[in-house]
């Protein structure tokens, strides 16, 4: 947007699918973009039809974080990993969404399967240890990403359940 020239996308010429991956062309999130497409059949073709203006920073969907959970007898440890920004090739430099959205935070929910009680935690770092839990009890964890500026949030991850170890003291 604002540059004044349309760039052709060779990989999306003469295709019959109805989508085209423009991640590479829109990877600079300090810029904004328009895309346009037209259809043709037997020598006839339609007008170009444009998208609305695309701002990669605000008009993107955020995936939930990856959640890994481990447990001891009386505690569970939760490690969260934010998704990475798209990269041109697997060898390319990995950029975490945290670098793109400095205000990124996590909402974590911990459900006690026995009592059915759910607790909420709001954290900025990527690890959370919940101590003093009941031994031999299943807990289910799910997490969401929230960005305050611009206002964005992911859905919740699926639930990861784990049980605290049974009480090792026996008489």
């Amino acid at each position: 947007y604002g540059v004044g020239k349309w760039i052709r996308k060779p990989e999306c010429r003469n295709i019959n699918r109805t989508w085209c991956d423009l991640s590479s062309e829109t990877s600079d999130y300090e810029e904004q973009y328009y895309a346009s497409v037209k259809a043709f059949l037997n020598g006839m073709c339609s007008d170009w039809i444009e998208t609305t203006r695309f701002n990669p920073l605000t008009d993107t969907k955020i995936d939930p974080p990856m959640v890994s959970v481990s447990s001891t007898e009386k505690s569970i440890s939760i490690i969260l990993t934010a998704p990475e920004k798209w990269k041109r090739s697997p060898e390319g430099e990995s950029i975490s969404l945290l670098q793109v959205y400095p205000g990124l935070q996590y909402n974590v929910s911990v459900l006690n399967k026995k009592t059915k009680k759910r607790w909420w935690f709001s954290i900025s770092n990527t690890t959370l240890v919940v101590p003093w839990l009941e031994p031999g009890t299943a807990y289910c964890v799910s997490a969401q990403i929230r960005v305050t500026t611009p206002l964005l949030h992911s859905g919740f991850s699926k639930e990861y359940c784990i049980a605290t170890l049974k009480d090792s003291v026996t008489f």
Binding site: E30, E31, P150
Partner: protein
Amino acid sequence: TAGNRIFHFGHCRVSMSMTEIRLGFTAIKANIQARDPIRTLSILSHPHSLHKVKSSDGCCITHHLFNFYVDKVFKHCKTEDSFINRKISSIANSFLSMKRKLRQCHEQNKCMCEEESTEKFKQILANYEGLNVTSAAIKSLGELDILLDWME
């Protein structure tokens, strides 16, 4: 939805909340940008991107841009749509609040304008004056997220 942040523009530190402006803009973005048919020109981001502004120039450019939007842009953005007009009023009045906060830095000489930032702002004005006033105002309003993204 806390959005109150301390903005550091060189020596100038200002606490501002962008959340309501963001919400207001998001509500009208599609409508306003649809009224701007010109793809080949940007008021704020070409030829100079705001993202290339040195942090020491941040306060000066921001100060100029707040004045630009308040003095030149909002008043020429009246539409036939009452909802849009009310959101523009909300954004415009929020800009006044922020303008007042930034003025404190200006009065404490923490908002110095170096030649580079003055040149950049001149380019923005030239882009603006290159269009008729309504088109320029609507395009500038449609680019508000460029300013907000850069500020944040």
